[in-house]
Amino acid sequence: MNDANLTLTLAPAAEAPRPLALTPAQDLRGYLGAHLGRALLFFITFTSVLAVLLILVFVVVRSVGFLSQSSLTEFIASQSWRPTAEEPVFGALAIIAGSLYVSFAALVFAVPLGILAAVFLSDIISWKVRNVVKPLVEILAAIPSVAYGFFAVVVLAPWMQNQFGFSTGTNALNAALILAIMALPTIISVSEDSISALGRELREASYSCGATRLETIVRAVIPAAHSGIIAAAVLGMMRAIGETMVVWMASGNAPQIPHPWWDLAQSVRTLTATIAGEMGETPEASLHRGALFAMGVLLLLMTFGMNVISEYFLTRAKKASGRT
């Protein structure tokens, strides 16, 4: 292309310049577009907020009848759950404990494993292998929970019974192990993202101070990524505490607190499994149904509390690293 051509192609538009002032019609259109669009987007966003609020209101309202007729202390402090007896007793303590048992035990398995796997993916194996393995790990999250439950009942339960001589194969340990596997993809994926997002600069800084790879990972990489790792653990915990199908199938569904307290080989029952299992058989507006809704409120409070805790940790982590 020669110079003359170049000048021609790059010349300003040949026609008369378009007016810079808005015509009234354009002005109106711009005004409407901006405000209507804004209203529409606000409405769409607000719908999801509204849904959360309505669910909360619905669950609370449906549980008010129960809470006013029955004793809250009994609900929280009593271990005996006999909703269909002549003299029904609604003590949810054992069930609340069951939920916490299973979720925390799952986290105890899943968080260290998840962090180790994330470190392995981000810092140890080659980028190529990581790019194959990480999507495979994430596929774990796509397996339906009933399939996990099936595995728990058909494979893990008999194996535990035969191998360790547990009285029952469907117990807190079984449910916790399966929940851990289900929480792993979330924990691995989120913490791996935050660990590899740190970039090479941080690792170079550490190596150049004379650190080994282990020291670099333990003293520089993991501390720098701890906010992401805490977020990953909380996300995993939420998944575990809200999971229903697996715990229903694998936990044994006995509303009891294990005795001694650390014996995970005993059956437990969780809030979610209780709600899912009994909701269909309770008459409308009965005390029993109200009790189940009260359990729902408890679950909401737990997840809300965990959200607050995670937010607290995340803000603190951000402040500590100066990224306010």
């Binding site: 090479r200 600069e201 690792r203 800084a205 080994t212 520089a220 100066g322």
Partner: protein, 295 residues
């Protein structure tokens, strides 16, 4: 160990004498073909870093090729050249930072203190302890100022709180940052300004008690005032440290360095006294580059 130190100190005294009296008449011309260039009349006889036909390849791409040069203790050596010419690659080869990049291959020798660091039996931790590095972008850890500087010493096994505090204070003083941060060592390093962060990185590198300090364009992200402070710092540090600096700024190279190496397209074109490189280079390419006619 102590004798070496003493020799270093002597060397330093003589070098600074030369610098003060500004004697630039006995400038040696270093022939690249010569294996061991002996700078006549120079006080630093023994090179601390010696590159012998060193080449580094990224896969099939050339990083640097056939670099033969000696770097002398207690002085500032500048590496200049256009972008992508292998300056940083060579610098990062000296403490094997390039190892983090997959598929690299090296040929030739790179000796630090007479030991070929690309030998399989090289203690990389000790290498990095002796050859510290300051990177182009300030990269403090997201920790407190104290923890940043104490990182190296604590890796070396210093657990005693008082000893750590002492090391941190001395390093921060040496990096001319102490007065600005002494009241708030618990503050996050990321809350510092860019220039302060870079000086913190220098302090962190100094805290491991290295003998060589590699600086990879340490001022490229800084304003002229912060740059000036870091250049002053280099002037003070060169009495006890060997500094190798990669820089894009020829004025900076002229201001701070005693010797300068001009790299182009992965090769070492010319290596000589800085004054010679800038006033009377022996190669055409060097002259074109330093006078701004490159290209």
């Amino acid at each position: 160990m102590s004798r070496e130190k003493k020799e270093d100190m002597q060397t330093l005294a003589l070098t600074s004498d030369i610098r003060r009296s500004n004697i630039r008449t006995t400038i040696p011309t270093i022939d690249r073909k010569e294996r061991t260039p002996k700078p006549a009349g120079d006080v630093c006889e023994c090179a601390i870093i010696r590159s012998e036909n060193f080449s580094l390849y990224y896969g099939s791409k050339v990083g640097v090729e056939n670099i033969t040069m000696d770097i002398y203790p207690c002085s500032v050596t500048a590496i200049i050249g256009p972008s992508g010419c292998g300056k940083s690659t060579f610098l990062r080869s000296i403490n094997r930072m390039n190892d983090l990049i997959p598929h690299i291959r090296t040929e030739g020798k790179l000796l630090v203190d007479g030991h070929d660091i690309y030998d399989k039996r090289t203690n990389l931790v000790n290498l990095c302890q002796q050859v510290g590095m300051v990177f182009q972008k300030p990269n403090p850890f997201p920790k407190s100022i104290f923890d940043n500087v104490a990182y190296g010493p604590s890796l070396q096994g210093v657990r005693n709180k008082g000893e750590l505090q002492n090391a941190v204070e001395q390093s921060l003083r040496a990096a001319a940052l102490w007065d600005e941060v002494k009241d708030d060592l618990k503050k996050s390093a990321l809350a510092l300004s860019g220039g302060q962060q870079q000086r913190l990185c220098i302090a962190r590198a100094l805290a491991t008690k290295p003998r060589v300090l590699l600086m990879d364009e340490p001022c490229s992200a800084l304003d002229p005032i912060a740059t000036g402070r870091i250049e002053d710092l280099m002037g003070q540090l060169q009495s006890t440290y060997t500094i190798v600096i990669v820089t894009h700024s020829m004025q900076q190279a002229a201001r701070v360095s005693e010797r300068a190496a001009f790299f182009c397209l992965g090769e070492l074109i010319e290596y000589d006294r800085t004054s010679k490189i800038f006033e009377n280079p022996s190669k055409k390419e060097t002259e074109d580059y330093v006078t701004g006619r490159f290209g």
